[in-house]
Symmetry: C2
Subunit: 237 residues, 2 copies
DNA sequence: CGACTAGTTGACATGAATCAAAACCTGTGG
DNA sequence: CCACAGGTTTTGATTCATGTCAACTAGTCG
């Protein structure tokens, strides 16, 4: 996923086994003023010329494409610390829209490339960023291609749990700022199926919904198992 | 897709509206001896350290991941001129296997990065390559997430037609070196559904199968329409 | 507090998966 | 050159997961 940890941009200890956030690249944005973007507003549209790269300072962004009549595919959610635009050429391939009120910083595409060219130490970070995007895209293809509704939901929640604020993982708190429709369009399902699947997992004691925008994971290991990512299909008790 | 045109690597006129192949990057491989890889043999395995980048000189390669019991997801097919490995860090994220007998060239990862660092003119090509991979991944997510069996098949054939040898497009000839199972695992369907969908399209006069490994497209415009990529759902008579 | 939208639940429809069998290529040996 | 053996592909019958349509419920925000 394009999702990073919900972290600030300063140098920070990353938890073992995780990708290090693109801190050095993030520092390019530091000097820029933060702009605000109200919930539901677009940061850019699919097809717009890619004049800028953005870093999310606060809030959540969805990236999506529309095909045909009313079919929307959300390809990623972006969280604080994430950067969007690095893997694009002349045109944006998707629309970016604020899920919640956001604060973002931007730099010009040309400036970005110049900076990366000038300081060779940024290049590994850029490569790492692009690799993470690629890896996320591959995971999503696997999810969409071979996982059932339950596995999709569990993968999604498991991801949010791992990438959420460090303290929250311990108590199993996952915040879901996006709507059920957003989740559905991200997972290739319908709202109804998302809703039913959450209910089913709640009945089985894997999790409990807390209001509309939070879920408490009661059995994190079981959740990980149900996400279908393990090397085998062994059941957990 | 990671699919490029079936072209040699020299400078070449590309057809209007297409991405220019990464010619300059390809030239890095020119000096290397071509290795042969028999059909069905692996070029590398998911999880192997990424010591090399490869360029396909001849033949077709499939990239795939396995999840759980026997679920295989083909994330891309590679054709002559394509390069694999540029968007990877320390480990391959997928297995690469020869669909047909192949000839390939390799260069070391370090050499590759050194060369790109040394000659700034290669950098735009690398970026273009990564962008194409990203764009292909996004298209595939849309396909897997929102398209039905017929749209998937048509998208796939349409792609092969566009990217196939220049002469073949005129007569609507699409060669399918891969098995039905490969196609199914690429499109997120089963062999039976792939087969049935081809039959249905044949009955409607959109195409005719020619043996097992070729399909003649009779109505290319209709095929494009059925792929569901258009901005609207308007029907073609 | 009340109205509106988002989410849940239920009944039913359907496209694709599954299971099973027949037809078709492909390559091999007589 | 033909027959046969192997796997691959096609076709058919049935099942099942998820989508669709519709009603109900519960958050949320003024």
């Amino acid at each position: 996923m394009l999702m990073e940890k919900h972290t600030a941009f300063e140098t920070e200890i990353t938890r073992a086994g995780e990708f290090a956030p693109a801190l050095s690249l993030g520092s390019l944005f530091q000097a820029q003023p933060a702009e605000t973007l109200g919930s539901g507003k677009a940061l850019f549209w699919e097809g717009d010329p890619t004049n800028h790269l953005f870093e999310i300072a606060e809030g959540v962004i969805r990236l999506y494409r529309i095909i045909g009549e009313g079919r929307r595919v959300i390809t990623a959610f972006l969280f604080p610390g994430d950067i969007v635009g690095a893997s694009l050429q002349d045109r944006y391939l998707y629309t970016a829209e604020a899920v919640t009120d956001c604060r973002i910083r931007r730099i010009g595409r040309k400036t970005f490339h110049d900076e990366v060219s000038r300081s060779p130490c940024l290049r590994p970070d850029l490569i790492a960023l692009l690799c993470r995007e690629t890896a996320a895209a591959h995971d999503q293809m696997v999810l969409l291609s071979k996982k059932n509704a339950e596995e999709r939901l569990c993968s999604f929640l498991h991801d949010l749990l791992r990438r959420g604020p460090a303290g929250a993982e311990e108590i199993g708190a996952v915040s879901l700022p996006m709507s059920r429709l957003d989740i559905a369009d991200y997972l290739g399902l319908t709202i109804e199926t998302v809703s039913r699947t959450i209910t089913k997992l709640a009945n089985r004691g894997v999790l409990t919904p807390v209001g509309r925008h939070e879920i408490r994971i009661l059995q994190p290991r079981r959740l990980a198992h149900l996400s279908g990512d393990g090397r085998d299909g062994a059941s957990l008790h």
